[in-house]
Symmetry: C2
Amino acid sequence: MTEQGASVDLHTPVTESVPFYAIVPAGGSGTRLWPLSRSGAPKFLHDLTGTGRTLIQATVDRVMPLVAEDGVVIVTGERHAAAVSGQLPEVSEANIFTEPSPRDSMAAIGLAAAVLMKRHGDVIVGSFAADHVIADQVSFEAAVKSGIVAAQDGYVATIGIAATRPSTAFGYIHCGTSLGLGAAQDVRTVLSFTEKPDALTAQKYIATGQYRWNAGMFIARASVLLGHLREQKPQLHDGLMQIAQAWDTDERAAVLAKVWPSLDKIAIDHAVAEPVAALGGVAVVPAGFGWDDVGDFNSLAALLPSDDNAGSKVLGDSGQVVRIQSAGSVVVPSVKRVITVLGLDDVVVVDTDDAVLVTTRARAQQVKDIVAELRDRGLDELT
Amino acid sequence: MTEQGASVDLHTPVTESVPFYAIVPAGGSGTRLWPLSRSGAPKFLHDLTGTGRTLIQATVDRVMPLVAEDGVVIVTGERHAAAVSGQLPEVSEANIFTEPSPRDSMAAIGLAAAVLMKRHGDVIVGSFAADHVIADQVSFEAAVKSGIVAAQDGYVATIGIAATRPSTAFGYIHCGTSLGLGAAQDVRTVLSFTEKPDALTAQKYIATGQYRWNAGMFIARASVLLGHLREQKPQLHDGLMQIAQAWDTDERAAVLAKVWPSLDKIAIDHAVAEPVAALGGVAVVPAGFGWDDVGDFNSLAALLPSDDNAGSKVLGDSGQVVRIQSAGSVVVPSVKRVITVLGLDDVVVVDTDDAVLVTTRARAQQVKDIVAELRDRGLDELT
């Protein structure tokens, strides 16, 4: 297979061991986690689990045992590059890619895949969002390894998380039958992807036993991913290849400035995963490691241990929180103030230097409305 | 009547106009208004009504039209004297009395009455708490003037506020019949005082039409007040007279240090008002000026205008408050942060530099429990 031109050969397995590279797109502002997450300091830069590592640090920690040397590439916005670089001394500067503007996940992942292919040949790449939380490292590694087997076999492999509740916050994967891959018998074909469903649809999905949560991880040979992209979105593909050609040269800035703004803004799910699934080219690795995209304060709460016998959670120093007649609260104190809660259950209180949020766990998804309201009022500096 | 020795002659009216002096006891920490009110900065030092005047400033403003020249005396704790003095440039330093330690209202008011009597003769004194809010100045002045008439007639006059709801937060006055005072026909005898009742008792009181709220204002000739005190609490009386003798001399500090710690800690209600009412010596002026002791954030809310159509109140800059799907909230922002409330009704959020309170209006009276909890944790600096 050549870098450009030929159509994708889905099912020619490579037999030798192929190096694996992780691509970590680090974008998105996480407005449902405001005021912790800001456009200037999005959620992936924060330690949201109280482990001492930010989400992007934990993401890199997680993939490090699986990748080739210098095998992690971060793709992030210009305004976050310095913070990302500061948090990740183990990632070389050459592997921190900055986008001039957000162009969604296909451009970010496609660019990284194209540059990695130019640098290292037809390696296997996997994309891992910078802001997800995974509990079980051993299961995660096993799943990625199964994904690599499927990728060697020519598939775009994705990881399907066991759906433990009819969540309306995640996309779903409709799983087919086993592909009979030698070293990964549990890998199945993907029949289709579905967007975040309504509650009734989600319940129906769960009842069939055929649906899994889409963790947004895609593993494929670089040539396979880019080949699909060329077929599905040829302009986007060609733009990315043009940038990749110039990436490690003096031309990078000039070509980026010229080409990047013209690129399609599209998620990898729509650009590649969905159409290629329809062609039979996507595989799913069933996995059961605790996974969450920490979308809001309610899902964040689920990841924290309770610090009392009433299901209350604190992200930070629980010595700075006083609760009286309050169960199930989620409190995020800042370092400077004591937070006191009296007689309110399931309340969310988040304190920062310039803004305080008070809401309920049930309203956690609506926190983005506050960000919208602040922007309407011209208080963009708080968002 | 002499300063000391003779028994009280309750019903010898003075006919000439007697100068009136206001005594403002400024004590109490207002723990139910924490974290606004602190032991180091109690509620009377705060502008709790958004008028630009603190409660003690408003109290002095209110009595100023009624009193003789240099006619306001503040009695406060040593740690608050500087703040009180700073807020009240119109009160001379000689009229800001500092107590070495809190000895409740009888000692504070009795000392001021004794010093005023020594300085000015048998004037009429009235006590007005530093932390009450009164809406209608004209009615207030009229009521105090009726109280002065009753005081001239030898009574200890109190002001009874029309009870508009069966509050369990106030004491009640059981009113008798008119005393037939020439210039103040509506002044009645007091049958008894009752402490804060339970809800059922309060409802029964209201139903009789004979009960009024005790606003804690007492107006009497200095000699009458001190005469009653001498009869009811001779040791306290003698101690106060000893201090008063030394007050405007070089001996003040020495006598205060020796005598003050030995004084009975008792409220004027128990020391004088209740026993003297039983003797027929207390009169009540019925009044209907909007009155509140601003005991907690719920009563504070009642004093503030709504800044939306949903009964929400802001003490401070409402530009610093964002509410979405929230009715009836009470928010006190600090100058430094925006407070956002999403999906909670009747919530109370108070932000300060070192502490944030989140509770409900229904729990407002329990806020003192948070102060107790902080002290239990050794966080006294926050209280």
